[in-house]
């Protein structure tokens, strides 16, 4: 069985105040992660207040963009094209919801190394996704 990756239309995310930095960086090819200067931990999705210690001293850091597939599901019957939703654990330690792209979707496995890539949304920012390393 083979399920080649196909581009699909991605609606532009409607951002809340504070989200622009993350998506502006993505459009420039950078993946950002929020880091807490008080407790020294990364978190995701990004918040103004750290979800571990509730400090407001959070800052953006650029991720290395490398990680490991924590889980995935090739979604075959929701919409016109199959796609692979996944959780990827970044080497910084946080796990993010994403898509695995640019491969035969049937070859994705838990534990595979992946690297960030970016796909355009419709009239919106680029969206961080991952391809097999």
């Amino acid at each position: 069985m083979s399920t080649p990756y196909q581009d699909r239309k991605i609606p532009a995310p409607k951002l809340n105040y504070g989200d622009e930095t993350y998506f502006d960086a993505a459009t420039q090819g950078k993946l950002l992660v929020k880091y807490c200067k008080d407790c020294g931990q990364y978190h995701h999705y990004p918040r103004a207040l750290c979800p571990f210690c509730f400090s407001d001293k959070t800052e953006w850091k650029e991720s290395k963009g490398t990680g490991t597939v924590y889980s995935y599901s090739v979604t075959r019957a929701s919409g016109p094209k199959p796609y692979a939703i996944a959780y990827v654990t970044l080497d910084e330690g946080v796990t993010m919801l994403t898509n695995i792209v640019d491969c035969d979707l049937d070859t994705i496995r838990v534990g595979q190394k992946v690297v960030v890539t970016f796909k355009p949304s419709e009239d919106g920012p680029a969206i961080p996704m991952f391809k097999l390393a």
Partner: protein
């Protein structure tokens, strides 16, 4: 303060229809309410507390339905935790009754599920939405992620998940109102189309119109009624999320809601004669059984095999109405049906082919939202008096 022994489930009603074309949403809620009140032997004028979730019409919690039904209430609650809402609401009703805030609580759930799962609003202020919606999350793939990781960590198989559906279908054959009454085999499940790896179509619950209602009353009122006495003895609730990115989707909120409920009830999993387990998908049941302590973590797949959930066959009869997998999942919210079938079992009013003998203690558990991102989790333990 505990709710143990402070409230009884006196009335239940499950709407018999699964496809409804000719009713308004408010009418459907009210008809469910009427059915449960008649079952209890009470009237609408006895109700002094109303509890609903966001399937009820209106933007003001329960106020629109309270007005529609002509109620005058002293207490209301419109908690929304998806399909688990109604288990939360039974517990909240019991708390209100125990605190003297009301004595006859009406809980309704109703709606039209067949148009499909409601997609989250793109322009809402939900903080996670911009970081998730671009990736195409839908109900089935968010449960599939949990199933895939469970298979990876514990060796759970598609065959084991299929046994959950097989058991549900064995029960549904005896329910004349069940949406799917056909008995299926493990092979039937494996042969059904793959929807989102590793979940096949038959790993997924049905999508139906309909609803139900439950009446929770004070002990004093329960003892004046002619119905068998079903006493609430324990309740626990705890949502689970992504933990700031320290994501672990191998367990559910039942790891917290279960022990809270068991501790309050003073019973243990081996005391439970019947369990209603939320079965949005087959994997939901396997993970919930582990987290409630019916088996060790990671052994849920083995636990459900070989008919272990089938009434009269296995050790833990579950979802004897056919569950969400075969019977009913009204408006994508199956929690109300979980309470209803547990009460039927405790009353001895389940179908004779699935009635559990000497069913004195039962559990009902709800999981609402999605296993791999955020979900509500609520456990109720009930005893026949």
């Amino acid at each position: 303060m505990s709710i143990k022994g402070k409230a009884y489930i006196a009335g239940i009603f499950e709407h018999p229809a699964r496809k409804i074309e000719n009713k308004s949403l408010a009418q459907l809620h009210a008809e469910c309410a009427k059915g449960a009140l008649e079952d209890a032997g009470l009237t609408i004028h006895d109700v002094d507390g109303y509890f609903c979730s966001t399937d009820a019409p209106g933007g003001l919690g329960g106020i629109n339905m309270i007005d529609y039904m002509g109620l005058t209430v002293k207490h209301s609650d419109s908690t929304n935790t998806g399909g688990s809402s109604y288990l939360y609401l039974v517990a909240h009703a019991a708390e209100a009754i125990a605190a003297g805030k009301c004595s006859v609580a009406l809980i309704t759930c109703a709606g039209f599920g067949r148009p499909g799962t409601i997609v989250r609003e793109l322009d809402s202020a939900i903080p996670d939405t911009p970081f998730e919606m671009p990736y195409g999350p839908v109900t089935v793939n968010l449960y599939a992620l949990a199933a895939m990781r469970h298979m990876y960590e514990f060796g759970t198989t598609n065959e084991q998940m299929a046994w959950v559906k097989v058991a549900a279908s064995q029960h549904a054959q005896h329910n004349p109102n069940a949406y799917l009454k056909k008995v299926v085999t493990v092979q039937d499940v494996l042969n059904s189309p793959m929807i989102a790896d590793p979940l096949h179509r038959m790993d997924c619950c049905v999508v139906t119109d309909g609803g139900g209602a439950v009446i929770v009353v004070s002990p004093e009122i329960a003892k004046t009624l002619k119905r068998p006495l079903v006493k609430l003895i324990g309740a626990g609730e705890s949502p689970k999320g992504q933990m700031g990115g320290k994501v672990d989707i191998t367990y559910t909120g039942a790891v917290r809601s279960g022990p809270i409920a068991f501790a309050e009830a003073g019973v243990k999993p081996s005391d439970i004669k019947y369990a209603s387990i939320y079965d949005s998908f087959t994997i939901t049941v396997i993970m919930t059984l582990e987290d409630l302590g019916f088996c060790k973590k990671g052994e849920g797949g083995k636990f459900v095999m070989d008919g272990n959930l089938i009434s009269g066959v296995g050790k833990l009869p579950f979802n004897t109405d056919g569950g969400g997998l075969c019977n009913n999942h009204p408006v994508n919210r199956g929690g109300i049906t979980k309470i209803i079938e547990a009460v039927r079992q405790l009353r001895g009013e389940a179908h004779p082919m699935v009635q559990v003998k000497n069913c004195d203690i039962a559990l009902a558990h709800g999981t609402g939202g999605s296993l791999s991102t955020r979900h509500g989790s609520a456990t109720l333990i009930m005893e026949r008096e």
